[in-house]
């Protein structure tokens, strides 16, 4: 589904990703862990098409297409979704109206008719339940005045509405209390499917108690330096990242 090969990316001339390779097959959940500054969020941003980052080398193929050639909206239409670490507040733009417009632009890109009002409202009703998002919040301005937990739930609600093939979660767990974390993780779990994959970027192992990954990768200095199963996350939780750093002292 997603094939990242030797990816190099920089921001403001500083190289952050230094040859990252990652293979994600349909239905798999990959956790990306690593110390601060290792490039986790950069990977998420580059996959979503953030133009602040410049890809200098390597390739990203998504469902057989060159992802790097697409702009952010085309990536969304193709089935990529990024849940933001810091969801943006957009005063005056209603959550519901923008989602409807987004769904219809994707449908148009796929040669489909616009969604009917009835079908859309039914979807909103069902999917907002997945993350226990209050109906009042779905109708408000995007993220405006939402608590931290509400913002993250709104991200997962949007993901549920847009039905991506690849969901990228950028530190969705950061700053959440255990109740909010459980709600968000349950929402993600309900969206797991044989043809839908996830890349879960996280700093803490805690999230992976709820979203059980198929693979855990450790990102260090812009490269994946270790890959294992979910037990690798537990080891990182117990021993920290120092042993990774020592194993990977730059030559």
């Amino acid at each position: 589904m997603l094939s990242v090969k030797n990816l190099h990316a920089s921001v403001d001339g500083k190289e952050i990703l230094k040859g990252l390779t990652l293979e994600v097959k349909p239905g798999e959940v990959h956790a990306i862990m690593g110390p601060n500054g290792s490039g986790k969020s950069t990977l998420a941003a580059v996959l979503a098409g953030n133009e602040d980052f410049e890809v200098t080398e390597g390739s990203v193929t998504f469902l057989g297409k060159d992802l790097l050639e697409m702009n952010p909206d085309e990536r969304s239409h193709a089935g990529v979704f990024l849940a933001f670490q810091y969801p943006v507040e957009i005063p005056g733009v209603s959550n519901i109206n923008f989602l409807k417009a987004a769904i219809n632009e994707r449908r148009e890109a796929h040669g489909q008719d616009p969604i009917s009002a009835k079908e859309f409202l039914q979807m909103v009703k069902e999917r907002s339940k997945l993350v226990e998002l209050d109906n009042k919040l779905t109708g408000r301005s995007v993220n405006e005045g939402f608590s931290g937990g509400e913002k993250k739930r709104n991200e997962i609600f949007q993901m549920a509405m847009l039905e991506p093939k690849l969901g990228i979660l950028d530190e969705t767990d950061s700053g959440l209390d255990i109740d909010a974390l459980r709600i968000v993780a349950n929402g993600v779990n309900k969206l797991r499917a044989a043809d839908r994959s996830f890349v879960v970027v996280t700093h803490y192992q805690r999230l992976l108690d709820y979203i059980i990954p198929d693979f855990v990768h450790v990102l260090f200095d812009g490269r994946i330096v270790k890959t294992g199963g979910k037990e690798l996350a537990l080891k990182l939780e117990e021993q920290g990242y120092d042993w990774i750093k020592q194993e990977n002292v730059p030559a």
């Binding site: 953030n50 909206d73 969304s76 239409h77 943006v88 733009v93 109206n97 923008f98 987004a102 632009e105």
Partner: protein
């Protein structure tokens, strides 16, 4: 070094205008007309040396030989006016009865300005000094058809009245002059639509005088659809008595040169006055909104919300003056001007002027000018909206706060279409 502006006397301009048709004004207006003519003998076009005109040059108007139109045919319009009723249609400042559709309503007296019945015309005192806005003197000296409306005591008109002004021709000037008088407890809604339909220069120099008696309610939306050869000078003077409500909204949907003066005198206590505006200039267009809110009495509220979306190399001016007279305790006066610079080449000059002589008042003003939030655009794009759609959505949200104040939302879709069209080009 500033280039000196042409200071042609306005009188030279009026000399080229014939007043045959326009000699007819209500008898009660005759003395004011003569005063205006006299004032024109010495008045000159304003220059940027005058504070009131600091950012708006009038040279482009002064150096053209304007004349009244000789063709009053209604051109094809981008909107179908047939369904818009009741309506009065004016072409180049002259009433077009054939294209209008009015109905008899109890308590409503409506006619062209020239045919206005005596009585209330003479009651309307001029408020704005001609030296401040010489264009107003020009209008008063040679007024054309506008509307004259009087609503009787405690009559509330439910249907908004539509006033459609169309400007055509080459170097033509039109001078609609209108009055609205609401008796105690009366209610009225008006939409004025001004559209310039010519590839050549057209100048509309409009004046509206409003007098609201106690406890009456008036709402006016003015939609100005200009183009890159249009000049629009608009003057509003309103005198609002106690317990009355007045709302006036300007939607400036382009125009080479637009100047809106809106002056409101809150003459009684417990009145509310709202002046709002939205503008979306493009190219090298210039839009200037000047307001004066004059609080004379206690317990009055005034609100001003002006928002602009700046495209191309356009320039905008907002100047909001608020007077709170010594007697006007418990005044609430709010003012806000926000601008989005879609283009790096656009300029905004925003200036609040508060003169407060009472000590127990709440007055605030805010002015913001910024770019569209790139982060928000990116966020919306990751959800599948194109860059253009995302921009439209952001601007739509920004404009909505002003559009929500419309007194006659029937016209909202038209305004939103123009906004969307302008942003598609940007």
């Amino acid at each position: 070094m500033e280039i000196l502006q042409d200071t042609t006397k306005l009188n030279a301009l009026t000399g080229t205008l014939t007043d045959g048709y326009f000699a007819k004004v209500p008898a009660a207006f005759e003395s004011r007309r003569n005063e205006a003519k006299k004032a024109l003998e010495t008045l000159e076009f304003p220059t940027t040396k005058q504070e009131y005109w600091k950012y708006t040059r009038t040279g482009q108007i002064a150096n053209k030989s304007w004349r009244f139109a000789d063709n009053f045919d209604l051109p094809e319009l981008p909107i179908s006016i047939e369904e818009i009723t009741p309506r009065m249609v004016f072409v180049n400042g002259v009433y077009s009865e054939a294209n209008s559709e009015m109905e008899d309503v109890k308590g409503l007296e409506i006619s062209t300005f020239a045919k206005a019945k005596q009585g209330y015309i003479s009651d309307l005192a001029p408020y704005t000094d001609y030296s401040l806005s010489p264009f107003l003197a020009l209008n008063a000296a040679l007024p054309q058809d506008g509307y004259a409306i009087r609503v009787s005591k405690n009559i509330a008109l439910e249907k908004p009245i539509n006033i459609i002004n169309v400007y055509t021709g080459d170097t033509t000037i039109s001078q609609p002059r209108s009055v609205i008088y609401l008796e105690t407890g009366a209610e009225l809604k008006i939409t004025e639509f001004h559209i310039h339909e010519s590839e050549n220069p057209t100048l509309s120099n409009t004046a509206l005088e409003v007098q609201l008696e106690a406890n009456s309610t008036l709402g006016i939306d003015v939609i100005q659809k200009g183009n890159d050869t249009s000049y629009h000078m608009q003057q509003l003077d309103a005198v609002v008595a106690g317990d009355a409500n007045f709302t006036h909204n300007n939607f400036t949907m382009r125009g080479k040169w637009t100047r809106n003066n809106g002056n409101v005198r809150l003459k009684g206590s417990n009145t509310t006055a709202n002046l709002n505006g939205f503008y979306i200039p493009n190219g090298s267009e210039h839009i200037d909104n000047h307001t004066i809110m004059d609080h004379e009495q206690p317990h009055c509220d005034s609100n001003e919300l002006y928002r602009g979306v700046m495209l191309g190399k356009s320039t905008a001016v907002f100047n909001g003056k608020v007077y709170v007279r010594p007697h006007a305790q418990k005044t609430n006066a709010f003012q806000s001007n926000g601008n989005i610079l879609v283009s790096d080449d656009a300029t905004v000059n925003s200036k609040p002027e508060l003169e407060i002589y009472a000590d127990d008042v709440k007055c605030s003003h805010g002015s913001t000018t910024g770019q569209i939030d790139d982060e928000a655009i990116y966020y919306l794009r990751t959800r599948g909206l194109s860059a253009t759609s995302a921009r439209k959505m952001m601007v739509g949200a920004f404009a909505a706060d002003v559009l929500n104040t419309m007194v006659n939302p029937v016209w909202r879709e038209y305004i939103e279409d123009v906004i969307s069209h302008e942003l598609s080009k940007a």
